[in-house]
Symmetry: C2
Subunit: 270 residues, 2 copies
């Protein structure tokens, strides 16, 4: 018989609903886990906000998840991973905290032959140099080339993921990776997996491995729960909390989660 | 000698810094007025939020402006104009409140020969049908055709206002106005004046008058102050408050205001 801690849910949070791509990857990797997702839809996007504000919001959400008795916290938001990871770890005591930046980086540097890594993300993620620092903490001789792609989030939310505007935009952002010799490209934003099929054709001919941080953190969560002997064998519930129910919410959520989203609860944090 | 009320500032607010296009138009039209601008940069964008949330935020800002002794409030945000105008009027007592939707509409319907009017805006503005209702309140027989253009705000903020992506995007949004016979096109979002030079070439050949709601509300404010004998002859200060100082803030603010922005103060509302 499993004890109560195994049956506790995994907490996942993001600035909005983009982190549902992480929830989707976790559901696929760990179908017997209960999941509590929090999307701060009233205050999205975090990417344009100051670090102080992002930290304050992230700690409110962490407390919300801890009150719901989570056994693990997954930071699905790249901006929060870059700005507030240490504060969240501190606030969470002995509850393990994983974040998309560490997970994506770990995946990218796992092959020591990769000497040249590209990273795309929001302006905040790129300015924070969080992926660069994380990669260099592992090996300071690896070359990292970053590119901010601010328009990809609104394009994903408009559902324009492979039309002419999306292709042109991706060219404007990614063309400078051509001939740069990158071996891997980290998708450093939860919205970017939606462009996973189109990006290789933009970098045409280049043999670039695409690293999806949603898949990476799901794998890392599975390993961690196995190591700690905290796997659940009898769960599988998905509970979703948001701070506001924006327009087109269900349509968007479905696009990111890959299935219909039921039983969403709107809560106010303080 | 002017009395104290004449010397009081005009309050202008928006969900973010897009409303600085309105501030710019007001400064041009009324160079001797003191202006207090509030941009809710910590909580932008309003367009994806629920009406209840938008109303609550708008009332907080209204109270902030009233505490600063404004003699008039200009709602520069289309989303707020659509969702919270009545609440703001009620909260403001005898202080006149003007909004971009009423001003833009008034401008559009001022010529009775215009029987066919186009409106572009954010998803929230279009879904609220606020411009349609305002035009039909004046004359229910006028034909109004709306189009939501969610990508124009991020394009303006990226500074992509006339490159290939901007042109393609504008074509996707505006091509259906061709052959529709519209005589005027209302730019129903504070960011859209940045595309004012490109839009006519998208609607090529059509003799469409572009109605900029920023110019419209500035003209309405001038008329109102003249009528109420509340003009200031000795001011000209511009004071800017924001709820957060986002990345690239000064670059963006300058693009919208058309000049450098000095002395910005960050304040927390409650």
């Amino acid at each position: 018989m499993q004890d109560l801690k195994n049956k506790a849910p995994i907490g996942i949070f993001d600035s909005g609903i983009g982190g549902l791509t992480v929830a989707k990857a976790v559901i696929d990797a760990l179908p017997n886990e209960d999941i509590i997702y929090f999307g701060d839809t009233a205050r999205v996007p975090y990417g344009i906000k100051s670090e102080e504000t992002v930290r304050a919001y992230a700690l409110q959400i962490t407390n919300f998840l801890l009150k719901h008795g989570v056994k693990m916290i997954l930071i699905a938001c790249n901006t929060v991973s870059a700005s507030a990871k240490e504060e969240i770890i501190q606030a969470s005591g002995d509850i393990p905290v994983l974040d998309v930046i560490t997970a994506g980086t770990h995946n990218a540097v796992s092959d020591p032959n990769r000497r040249n890594i590209g990273v795309i993300g929001t302006l905040a993620t790129v300015n924070s140099k969080a992926y660069v620092k994380a990669i260099h903490a592992h090996d300071p001789t690896v070359t990292v080339k970053q590119q901010a792609c601010p328009l990809l989030v609104p394009l994903a939310e408009e559902g324009w993921i492979d039309n002419e505007v999306a292709i042109q935009t991706l060219h404007l952002y990614l063309d400078e990776f051509k001939d740069s010799g990158i071996q891997s490209l980290i998708l450093g934003c939860t919205h970017y997996p939606l462009f996973k099929d189109v990006i290789p054709q933009i970098l045409n001919g280049e043999n670039v491995e695409i690293i999806d941080s949603a898949d990476s953190i799901a794998m890392a969560a599975k390993e961690k729960l196995e190591t700690l002997d905290l796997l659940n064998t009898s769960g599988g519930q998905f509970q979703c909390f948001v701070s506001d129910r924006p327009q087109r919410f269900h349509e968007l959520a479905e696009r990111f989660l890959g299935k219909e989203l039921n039983g969403v609860e709107v809560v106010t944090l303080d």
